[in-house]
Symmetry: C2
Subunit: 358 residues, 2 copies
DNA sequence: CGGGTGATAGAAAGCGCTTTCTGAATCGTG
DNA sequence: CACGATTCAGAAAGCGCTTTCTATCACCCG
């Protein structure tokens, strides 16, 4: 059917071993021989049989990418830049393939896909998205990651905290400074004069949720130790979807506790919050300021444009790709924290002079 | 290292062949034996070695998904629902893995990734996104697809026209009624009273561009045969990014040809157009109406909410997954056209009474 | 000028599965 | 009750690579 390595070898007048060696390098092959083999490969249009190679080498060209859901822009951008960075010189010289798996953040799904990827002898794995902070899951995940990494498979944790693992393993973590971003965002709101700041946090038990909330609270406390207490009843947990932000905001409104600003766990939730406020006849930012997190592309086009915290997703994806392919050495200590940046736009402004409306 | 099939066989007291048969079915295995094997698999936590299986069976569990760019919501949603639908009963029983490849719509990239996927013995391929309508590329693509399909690999074309291929091949096409959608959108604008309608088309030579433009024009012509001529100077081609829409609109404005509405090739371009209009001090929709295409999630949150045409991306992804896995038989004729739906929102309204502003 | 010493290339043994091809029971039936 | 038909399980031959291990040259130095 397809051209095999043996055919290439025959045409070049060498042994299969030699062809394998020019293909994989790491072994001396004389210039003339190499040229002849390359010519034969070219002539025959040889493309390696991935499974055969993976079986023999016990490692494949597959790179597993676990995301909550690629349909979500956050993960789409991350996965997209990662995939593109896997073939830095363009698709024509691509070799590693990205296997993307939607886990919805569910621990069992992560474990299941990791098992599958291990079965596929994936040459690397990138785990993205906030992690469930459940000891049982963390242990199970750590065990699985240890196994894979011990087998020489690089594992990159991206946007989630490091796992408790032995140091020598090829595991690296790329984090976002979520805490710092949330801190600066809250500072921004405080500087504008807001004191009753509602916060729509992500699902409880998720690392991202905790980090962002922690940064937010830290800023409140720093400004005024009593503020966190005042704002506590204005803090709710919700999912990461727009509808969750909408519902959470309605709930907040229903409670009757006044607030002049609402910060959300991410941009999507923030748009839901903004919609709920609008539907309640509340003007943004004149009556209530709204802020998101992530700086997804749509933020500049909402009405008004959303103040948010930029998370360097493209950079993270590209970095993860370099780390997982070994094109960039794993940093000592294994942890890289990427900076986040406050993006002030139209959805935040000073609180109304006459007091809060809701 | 990992548990092998032979170990499972030993534990169950059967031959490897038998284990393979209970794993793959299609061959009678007595109830008792099957139970014993399943128990052994469970006990040992056996996970099949993908490459070995793929090598022996000459087909892998990989499904190639070619997209222009997963970072783009259009493709992210398509790929996301496709990936999720690959494991209908949840990730724990997933078997097929989605390999997503960003091609940027480039013909060479599509060919390169297809070669790679063929080398990986992919068990199916889904080609999404508008296709370059270049005869050379179409022929090369058709050749490659024929080869793969002839080898029993289902190929699904999604959102692009069918390829000229023999009928018996396992190839199916899932199209969107782009033309109909564009037609109805233009009708909507015409019904509102617009006559000078600008159109920011996609890149020339792309099937999607042609279809949408054709539908748009057909509506103009149907309404008034002279209208297409009037609007011709108001039609420009641009890329699919927001910036392209912004620039194209500025260019349109600079030309001085008045218009009261602008329809864009997609939502992203439309937001760029809207931004350019806003920056020029033009009110939407009071002075100029704006419409997009695709109905990406952010459409409801722009200012004003974007009138657009809904493209059933999730449905298409799920359908493609079913077709490519053989869970749903390929339709006779191979072509399925999914309906599109006009979504009227705030960005379109009647043209200004006093004539057009630009 | 002979035996180390590198530098290259080939032979061959798998990697862990699938899948014929056989073989041995078990069954139904005249 | 004997014989072919049927059902189930095992033996073994690969699938197309990688990778030791081995073999062959050329050299080079004493």
């Amino acid at each position: 059917m397809a051209v095999t390595l043996a055919e290439v070898a025959a045409r070049a007048g060498v042994s299969p071993a030699t062809v394998s060696r020019v293909l994989n390098g790491g072994y001396p092959v004389a210039g003339g021989t190499r040229t002849r083999v390359e010519q034969a490969i070219e002539d025959l249009g040889y493309v390696a049989n991935g499974p055969a190679r993976a079986l023999a080498a016990a490692t494949s060209d597959l790179v597993g990418v676990l995301v909550h859901d690629v349909a979500d822009s956050f993960f789409g951008i991350l996965a997209g830049s990662l995939q593109s960075a896997l073939a830095p010189a363009g698709p024509s010289d691509a070799r590693r393939l990205a296997v993307v798996c939607n886990t919805q953040g569910a621990p069992e799904a992560e474990l299941a896909y990791l098992a599958l990827l291990e079965g596929q002898r994936a040459g690397g794995v990138v785990l993205t998205g906030g992690a469930a902070e459940d000891p049982g899951h963390t242990a199970a995940l750590a065990a699985r990651v240890t196994r894979m990494a011990a087998g020489g498979v690089p594992v990159i944790l991206c946007g989630r905290p490091p796992l408790p693992l032995p140091d020598e393993l090829p595991v690296a973590t790329v984090m976002f400074d979520d805490r710092g971003g949330a801190f600066r965002l809250a500072e921004h709101l405080l500087a504008l004069g807001h004191r009753r700041i509602a916060y729509i946090a992500g699902p409880p038990g998720l690392s991202t949720t905790r980090e962002r909330l922690a940064g937010h609270r830290a800023a409140l406390v720093r400004h005024d130790p009593g503020l966190a207490g005042i704002c506590a009843p204005l803090t709710v947990h919700a999912g990461f979807e727009r509808a969750a932000g909408y519902d959470a905001t309605r709930e907040l409104l229903r409670r009757g506790e006044p607030f002049t600003a609402v910060a959300a766990a991410n941009d999507t939730v923030a748009t839901g919050a903004a919609a709920a406020l609008r539907d309640a006849g509340i003007r943004i930012p004149e009556e209530v300021s709204v802020a998101g997190f992530d700086d997804l592309p749509f933020c500049v086009d909402t009405a008004p444009a959303l103040t948010t915290v930029r998370v360097p997703l493209r950079e993270a994806g590209a970095l993860a790709a370099q780390l997982v392919t070994g094109r960039r050495p794993l940093p000592p200590g294994g942890l890289t924290t990427l900076p986040t940046e406050l993006m002030v736009r139209g959805s935040t402004g000073p609180p109304p002079a006459g007091g809060s409306r809701p």
